[in-house]
């Protein structure tokens, strides 16, 4: 196996596929990046068997072959090669790999790529196109409310992922952790057949890191019953899907409300953030919102001290007193771009909805039982 390429191209390729490589795996081959030049292209692959990333590096194949190289040391070496001059990577029949650039010469011991798992092939007949920027944003704006695993029950498994739904010209991502729900919908350029899959949160997180393109750069998303594939530029990301059912977000009654207020997002977020300062790890003190006339009076009492503050609002409907985990409200406010936000309430025991009129975003936060506070 032998190829020649630029340092920049190789560094970018290695960093991309590295996102799918686990640092310590029970299968040591999974700690490697696979280099495959058998079809005349420089193809790099990283996988942890749930998520796989494959990318093509621009360059010249001199000798076709396959080798697997430990990802950590390979990344360190290629990242620190001299900036000028081509990189030559060459493996012998014992998988000893020579990396040369100008006067710098490395020899490292590689492995046979025979045991390296192949990425599944997906049919592109029914694929969906979305801009890289939109996909990256929508992941960032929903991923924080994913459940943090642990439990093995089917329900918990599905909460480790996000529900991705395609219907008409919309794509919608939903995540939930039992205390809150985040829902984002974006419009696509075309109309597609309906689809509904649960994508592991870890996969979405890694994909969002390697989607560096802008609004005009597209990603093509393809599906089979067990996998989802994201393709952009020279890169292909394949993730397993999570089996099971997901909470039906459309069954929530989000139309009715008894109280609603509009508030300056930044000022409100800063208030909640100040309240959150008094909440220490493991100590679940709620922030109480006393929604009265044209103000919200906020207060929090914790072992560290207490805080109160009030803020001007535009209120519609009844006065209401309700309590929340300040972090959950904060997380939602952080990813909303609007200058003003609207919050909808039914009573002190029903969820609060933070949403815009077009409902391109809906953040649901469950209140903390008010009686248990006193």
């Amino acid at each position: 196996m032998k190829f020649i390429c630029s340092k920049t191209a190789l560094v970018n390729g290695v960093r991309t596929v590295n996102k799918a490589v686990t640092k310590r795996s029970t299968m040591s081959i999974l700690e490697c990046i696979l280099i495959n030049t058998t079809d005349g292209e420089i193809r790099l692959t990283g996988t942890d068997t749930e998520l796989g990333i494959e990318t093509l590096v621009d360059g010249q194949v001199e000798d076709r072959g396959i080798v697997a190289i430990e990802a950590g040391i390979f990344t360190d070496i290629v990242s620190n090669l001299p900036d000028d001059g081509d990189v030559i990577v060459e493996s012998d029949e014992n998988f000893v790999t020579h990396i040369t650039c100008n006067k710098a010469n490395f020899n490292i011991v590689g492995k046979s790529g025979e045991e390296y798992p192949y990425l599944p092939e997906l049919n592109r007949n029914d694929s969906v196109i979305i801009s890289q920027m939109a996909l990256r944003d929508v992941i960032r704006q929903t991923i924080f409310s994913i459940a943090e695993g642990g439990d093995d029950s089917t329900n918990q498994q599905s909460m480790r992922g996000e529900l991705m739904e395609i219907f008409g010209d919309s794509i919608r991502l939903s995540s939930l952790d039992g205390h809150r729900i985040s829902i984002r919908r974006i419009q696509l350029k075309d109309v597609y057949d309906s689809k509904k899959v649960i994508v592991p949160g870890k996969s979405l997180n890694e994909i969002s890191k390697i989607l560096t393109g802008g609004a005009d750069d597209d990603v093509e998303i393809s599906f089979n019953p067990n996998h989802i594939m994201f393709e952009f530029e020279n890169t292909k990301v394949v993730s397993r899907l999570i089996e099971g059912s997901f909470f039906d977000v459309d069954k929530m009654n989000i139309k009715d409300h008894e109280t609603k207020f509009k508030v300056n997002k930044r000022a409100f977020m800063e208030c909640i953030n100040r309240a959150n300062l008094l909440v220490k790890e493991g100590d679940k003190k709620p922030i109480i919102l006393d929604i009265r006339d044209d103000r919200v009076y906020m207060m929090i009492n914790s072992t560290a001290g207490n805080m109160k503050e009030d803020i001007e609002i535009e209120k519609y409907g009844k006065d209401l007193m309700i309590a929340f985990n300040p972090k959950f409200v904060l997380d939602a406010l952080k990813v909303i771009e609007d200058d003003e936000v609207e919050l909808y309430f039914v009573n002190s025991k029903a969820p609060c909805f933070i949403k815009n009129n077009s409902e391109t975003y809906i953040y649901v936060v469950l209140p903390i039982n008010f009686n248990s506070i006193h």
Copy 2:
């Protein structure tokens, strides 16, 4: 105790004194910042008894008194207050402290300041003036080769600090860890009496972080037999000195050499850095320098693989083969600003000196016994 000040002034003050506060101390009072307004000024103090920092905050004292407040929560709160509006801090007779800024109100429980240790007073008769930037740079350029504590012997204690010497119009800092020595000398504007003290590395490190001034902003350094004090703007930093003797750097023979070479610093540093990639934690593989004719041939062999590279030099004297821990050479090269560096050698068992002609810097690296490599 009551005072009013701007948020910016208070945040800066709190962050400055925080550098001396230990997160978890056996004396819980040391986890606090002391606020003292008894002399009509807003004086903040933080100390861990080895290092103490005191700073004055611009503002208005309304009620004289003393209170100690847990540093972590106080820093969090003042950093997150609204940006507009004055901050009012007021403590009652039970040390409950109210922090108000616009509509934001916090109450936190403070402590009596009675048990809080006073910083020692130092005489300024014989103090030394140096620019903030010069002191910050010289600390950064020597602190990395300080010994990392652990041992209780007197010798080890002194190696936890840096030797600071004043002689004539020079200040010199030296640090060493048994494998290497870093020496930096800078010129002062005035001539002073000779002084020789050992300052704890931790104190120097914290001081370098709060010295934000430039070349024209001065620090005044004062001494007593057990303490050193650094004063600048509204801030006073007092550190205990380390007792004991320090290695006499002037006894080293740095004049004689059998081999010398001049090399492009950046290119040489990049080579050594590449070699260092193959050295894993705890695996002390040396880089071998084969200094021959007009090149240095470098090679390293580790469990991860091997690397070789050569670089053009201007050589004077004999050919030589010598081995080093690449990290030690790298650390010295990183803090040298010159485009070209000169390395001096006697033989493969004697220390290597990296120094400039005026000897404002001297970095000494001990070689690794060459015979033990093979």
